[in-house]
Amino acid sequence: MTGPANGHGPGERPLLTVEHLTMRFGGLVAIDDVSFQAADREITAIIGPNGAGKTTVFNCLTGFYKPTVGRLTLELEGHPPIFLERMEGFRIASRARVARTFQNIRLFPKMTLLENLVVAQHNKLMRASGYTVRGLFGFGYRQEEEKAVDRARYWLEQIGLVDRADDDADSLPYGDQRRLEIARAMCTEPVLLCLDEPAAGLNPRESADLNDLLTFIRNEHRIGILLIEHDMSVVMQISDRIVVLDYGRKISDGDPEFVRQDPAVIRAYLGEEEEEDLPDIVKQDLSTDGAGGAGALS
């Protein structure tokens, strides 16, 4: 079950392959036999109505849940494949280099912006400091620390917060905190970045900034991004590929153009023949974004 995306051209090399992922909580089936791929250097969006199981997929990927059934394979060039479902949570971040953000903001509120970004580079620093023994005396540690601070400053520049480096993270406005979270995730030097509703609660301007940041990360840092998002203006503009879940099952998978016109997706969002049920915001987004898609809906 690794066929190419429907309606999607020859994509990049697969980075993450999810096969037959199933997650049951007692009698409740949160995810039912979902398979998809996320390619390197692409933005893959997971969308679907509330309760479709999107966040559960993330929780399986990052070790919060052990999947009931399924295999999650991460393949890097020149490395043996890594099976995420077998790893402990913190190793997924340090060995497999999968980073994630949450729907609600989880910065370290009482640490400065810079510290938030440096603490994300903890493992490298621990090794360089001889597990703190040498670090206390300052041998061979300063150089690595400087590198970490440089990387942190680089990302602060990318999100335009470099002049607030020494403020506590909780003093930032909401939109900036969101982008700081993404910067922090990037400081772990991930190969796969998982973002859970990064645009939630952002105003249109902040949302546009976020689009730029994500496109920049994909193009310049050349990593795979997996994105859960409700904001269709984000999804449709920047995704290379969209996976649609509904009631824990995958109902569509392909590029934005394909998904937009897929009858199964329209049904899931509209309900059969009941156009009025569609939330206004979705209707508006689906019909204003690009002429091609609008045709399929009306």
Binding site: G89, F90, A99, R100, F108, M111, V119, H122, L125, T132
Partner: protein
């Protein structure tokens, strides 16, 4: 003149006692900060520190005269090492499995471990008081005057007290650097604020918590050595009262706050000594624990603690 001299004498004694409480209080406050439990067995870790110091001093004595500063250094390192092992084991065996349990379970386990360690040392070392002959003697006379009865009254700052104050200051500075400047310290603060997120950034949370216990235990070992040098005797029960007072110090400073623990330790040391010196020696412990009650009633966040904001 006599009054000033007497005051000065109490001040010196208070600061040295405060050093002991402060060093032990850091262990309470760090553990509380990172896993939200009161490690009531921490006083026993301090008690083990006193015993290791005593044993190593006696062994060095048997081995023949070792140059005193070297001997103190050896005792210091040995005490830190052994108590660190105890601290690590305590967390690994008794607390780690209970981390997801209700707080009460961890608290009761801590009290259980405290009683266990007391009895364990009593069994191995006997219940009798173990003396250590004074190791560091002499001092500098600061004031020389006469008391009301016309007898000579000299206030001196002993070399031991100088050593205690210098050692404590050096350790506090090293410790502050460790927490604010190193990767380990940052990881610790990150774990305090959001353990789940710290794990997602690749921080080994279990190891960070273990190291917290190790650092706390090492500082308690230093307090144990100071106690041994200052009071010259220990038994299996010394950790109980010292532990409770250090806990009071941590609460007074604001539990979870590191500068608070240092400040609280100093204040409790001074309060205890001044109360004993000016009011009543017998009731000095009452004074300390009255402070605990008052702080808990009127300022539960302590002097430097921040109010605990409910996480959403």
């Amino acid at each position: 003149m006599y009054h000033v001299a007497y005051f000065l004498d109490q001040l010196i004694n208070g600061v040295t006692l405060g050093a002991i409480y402060g060093l032990v209080a850091i262990g309470y406050t760090m553990v509380y900060g990172i896993i939200g439990m009161i490690n009531f067995a921490h006083g026993e870790i301090f008690m083990i520190g006193t015993f290791v110091s005593l044993i190593v001093f006696l062994l060095l004595g048997l081995a023949g005269g070792v140059w005193l500063p070297l001997a103190i250094l050896i005792v210091l390192l040995a005490a830190m090492l052994f108590t660190a092992i105890y601290g690590w084991t305590l967390e690994r065996v008794a607390y780690r499995r209970l981390r997801a349990s209700p707080r009460l379970a961890a608290l009761i386990t801590a009290i259980g471990m405290s009683i266990f360690l007391q009895n364990y040392v009593q069994l191995l070392q006997g219940a009798r008081n173990k003396p250590l002959p004074p190791q560091i003697t002499g001092g500098v006379e600061v004031v020389n005057t006469t008391n009301r009865a016309g007898e000579a009254y000299a206030v001196s700052l002993s070399f031991l007290q100088i050593l205690i104050i210098v050692l404590t200051i050096v350790l506090m500075v090293v410790f502050t650097l460790l927490i604010t400047r190193t990767a380990l310290g940052r990881a610790q603060r990150a774990c305090e604020q959001d353990r789940g997120m710290a794990a997602l950034l690749g921080i080994n949370v279990d190891r960070t918590i273990s190291l917290t216990f190790v650092i706390g235990a090492s500082l308690a070992a230093v307090a144990g050595l100071i106690f041994m040098l200052r009071y010259g005797a220990t038994d299996f029960f010394v950790g109980f009262l010292t532990g409770l007072k250090a806990f009071t110090a941590a609460v007074l400073g604001g539990i979870g706050s590191l500068p608070g623990a240092m400040l609280g330790g100093l204040l409790i040391g001074l309060i205890e000594v001044f109360f004993a010196g000016y009011f009543n020696l017998e009731y000095k412990d009452v004074a300390t624990f009255t402070i605990l009650v008052l702080v808990l009633i009127f300022r539960p966040t302590g002097l430097l603690g921040k109010p605990d904001i409910e996480k959403v």
